[in-house]
């Protein structure tokens, strides 16, 4: 008698308790793993360390995912996440974040002197022919918002991230597909120039439209392995 009550009751409780959360079948939900570092919708703000990924060219994002997986970039948390995912899923991740068109926050104010920032501006927009340093804008677009399909924008990123990446390139901790142009360029930067260009880039607002340029307006100065189309 008791049992005939108890079993339906327990079942009812069990079912009520066991009702699982309804999860949306979207890439946004599947890629929630990216958001504890790169921010909600991949739009990490410029006040932290982790770079924003929303709106970056898909080819650039795919290359970076492959670089982490294949040992050309070293950052333990990223390697742990993407190893050993196949290109098929990495490409979907890249295309998802590339397709997000979201507003940018204002840059963090620069702590460097006006002279340092001016040196940074010159390096970014004109380069330094004496040191055989091309301007950033020669490859990353006149507005520095990147160039499709695979050259990233340089604005809207944390200063520490920019400094960290240039430093990693100098020391071989960050590499790109050969020919690795950025490694060659970074190795020509002395410490002062590296800080100056990072600080100036991090202090610039992202212009509107903020999307990457469709193509370079000039013949690229360098032929880089990372510039190519989506593999």
């Amino acid at each position: 008698m008791i049992r005939s009550f108890l079993i339906p009751l327990l079942l009812a409780c069990g079912l009520a308790q066991a009702a699982p959360v309804l999860i949306e079948d979207t890439l946004a939900q599947r890629l929630a793993a990216c958001t504890t570092c790169h921010g909600k919708q991949g739009r990490a703000a410029p006040d932290g360390y982790h770079p924003r990924i929303a709106g970056k060219p898909a080819g650039y994002l795919l290359h970076q995912l492959q670089n982490f997986r294949d040992g050309r970039r070293r950052y333990g948390p990223m390697v742990a996440l993407v190893d050993p995912l196949p290109d098929s899923y990495l490409r979907e991740m890249a295309e998802y974040f590339a397709g997000l068109d979201l507003p940018y926050l204002a840059p963090a104010p620069a702590a460097e002197s006006a002279a340092v920032l001016e040196r940074g501006r010159v390096l970014a927009l004109q380069g330094d022919p004496a040191k055989q340093l091309p301007a950033c804008s020669a490859c990353h677009g006149a507005a520095l918002t990147g160039v499709l399909p695979a050259v990233p924008g340089l604005l809207g990123l944390p200063r520490d991230y920019l400094t960290g990446q240039l430093g990693a390139w100098v020391h071989g901790e960050r590499r790109a597909l050969a020919p690795d142009c950025m490694a060659a360029i970074a190795k020509k930067l002395d410490g002062g120039d590296l800080v100056a260009v990072s600080a100036w880039l991090a202090s610039q607002p992202v212009p509107l439209p903020s999307k990457p340029a469709v193509a370079l307006t000039q013949v690229p100065l360098l032929r880089c392995g990372s510039m190519g189309a989506l593999p």
Binding site: P20, I23, D25, R30, L31, A80, V82
Partner: protein, 426 residues
């Protein structure tokens, strides 16, 4: 000198006294009138599948490197071992090897020149591979593009890499001999046992290892994977990875899809599913499932653990509510897609949550991960990493809360455990 070294040196002295290196652990001679050969298309295809079953490419390929060209560093408690080049390059790979040399390597753990190989190359298991399968594997490897990449010498502490130490080790922990079918079992069971214990070398992780790294008589009692800090759970414990009470098709699903109703592959097992088991023929997966399901289950240990302190429990409850419940549910029910397909694992009743050591729970919270990408699950839901969001002591509180909630009664996790288990090689 560490106790491990003392143990091995003593073992080596005994072995020397017994004449082990010259008398007891002799190498078969390889006929020198043989030439490297080519296989039939059937052999090559059979060898390709065996290479997948053995997951050879994972150890024998560096990150982003040419497949099977070797060079990957394998961390062990005895030093670093570098996998060899298996491509048919004449100077640096297996170009000069004949099928005889290859058989002797798998079956006896000997290199081209007859020297004893370090047992990070799992010849303790590959010795069970039949001669026909060895020849098939050889035939397949001969078809790979030759890659000139010199092998790198192992960086082992003395005396682990010496021939005398290896002779002693082999005397204690290695018996050469191909797999013998158990006539009392079905052909399917025997096929499964052959794959699991031979090419699959599952025991290399799931058996744990003795103090000198031996897998002999290890059974499938589980073990912490050296240098990676993931725990390979025991096949023989109901609270770990036993599948004795799973339907066969669910065991197959775990190996093929990486997800099954009562478990999923994470960490190194997700790599195994992606690189190895998902590619195996359905009949072989079925055979492995039959064998795994037949493994005996040890009696469960008796007393439930002490619950965490109330303050820790409360801290864990709050952190769970803030960071985990949106996907895993207020009561650890997990999440499903609108059609009912499982998306986010339930934590109530989840064996990864309660097993000891709690390495995999700590690593899942700290590092996150996507699990295996397979044909049935091409876009797995990713678990976010929390190592940079929560302090060790907070991760410990969440883990302790999970291990004492919804019927679970596993011991609390300390911040020290978190610090210990979240590190390790990528």
């Amino acid at each position: 000198m560490s106790w491990r070294k003392v143990l091995l040196v003593l073992l080596a002295l005994v072995a020397l006294a017994l004449g082990a290196p010259t008398l007891l652990d002799r190498s078969d001679a390889v006929a020198d009138n043989m030439r490297p050969g080519t296989g039939t298309p059937e052999q090559i295809e059979r060898g390709r599948l065996l290479a997948l079953a053995g997951n050879c490419a994972t150890c024998h390929t560096t990150r982003g490197g040419a497949p099977y060209a070797g060079g990957r560093a394998i961390g062990t408690p005895f030093g670093t071992v570098y996998a060899g080049n298996l491509t048919p390059d004449e100077a640096t790979g297996l170009g000069r090897w004949t099928a005889e040399h290859f058989w002797r390597a798998l079956h006896q753990g000997r290199g081209y020149d007859g020297r004893r190989l370090v047992p990070a190359f799992p010849y303790t298991e590959f010795t069970r591979i039949t001669r026909a399968d060895s020849d098939a594997l050889y035939a397949y490897l001969r078809t790979l593009p030759a890659v000139a990449q010199p092998n790198r010498g192992h960086e082992l502490e003395w005396p682990y890499g010496t021939q005398t130490a290896l002779a002693a080790w082999r005397l204690a922990f290695f018996r050469a001999g191909p797999w013998q079918d158990d006539p009392g079992r079905s052909a399917e069971w025997n096929r499964g046992a052959y794959l699991v214990n031979g090419a699959g070398h599952c025991v290399a992780c799931h058996g744990g290892r003795n103090a000198l790294g031996g897998t002999a008589d290890a059974g499938f009692g589980g073990g912490l994977i050296p240098s990676r800090n993931w725990y390979a759970p025991a096949f023989t414990r109901a609270g770990e990875a036993s599948v004795a009470d799973w339907p066969l098709e669910q065991i197959v699903a775990l190996l093929r899809d990486g997800v099954a109703p009562r478990g999923r592959a994470i960490g190194p097992m997700a790599e195994v599913v992606m690189r190895s088991t998902q590619h195996l023929p359905a009949a072989d997966l079925q055979a492995m499932a039959v064998y795994l399901k037949s493994l005996p289950v040890e009696a469960v240990r008796a007393s439930p653990a002490q619950p965490p302190l109330p303050a820790v429990m409360e801290q864990g409850r709050q952190l769970y509510r803030d960071h985990c419940a949106a996907c895993h549910g207020d009561a650890g029910e997990g999440g499903v897609l609108p059609g009912g397909a499982p998306a986010v694992p339930a934590l109530a009743g989840n064996r990864t949550v309660t097993m000891d050591p709690p390495a995999n729970l700590v690593r899942a919270i700290a590092l996150g991960g996507f699990g295996a990408v397979t044909a049935a699950n091409p876009r797995p839901f990713g678990m976010p990493p929390f190592a940079h969001v929560l302090r060790d002591e907070q991760i410990a509180a969440v883990a302790s809360f999970l291990r004492a909630s919804w019927g679970a009664q596993a011991a609390p996790v300390s911040a020290f455990d978190v610090a210990r288990f979240r590190g390790g090689e990528d």
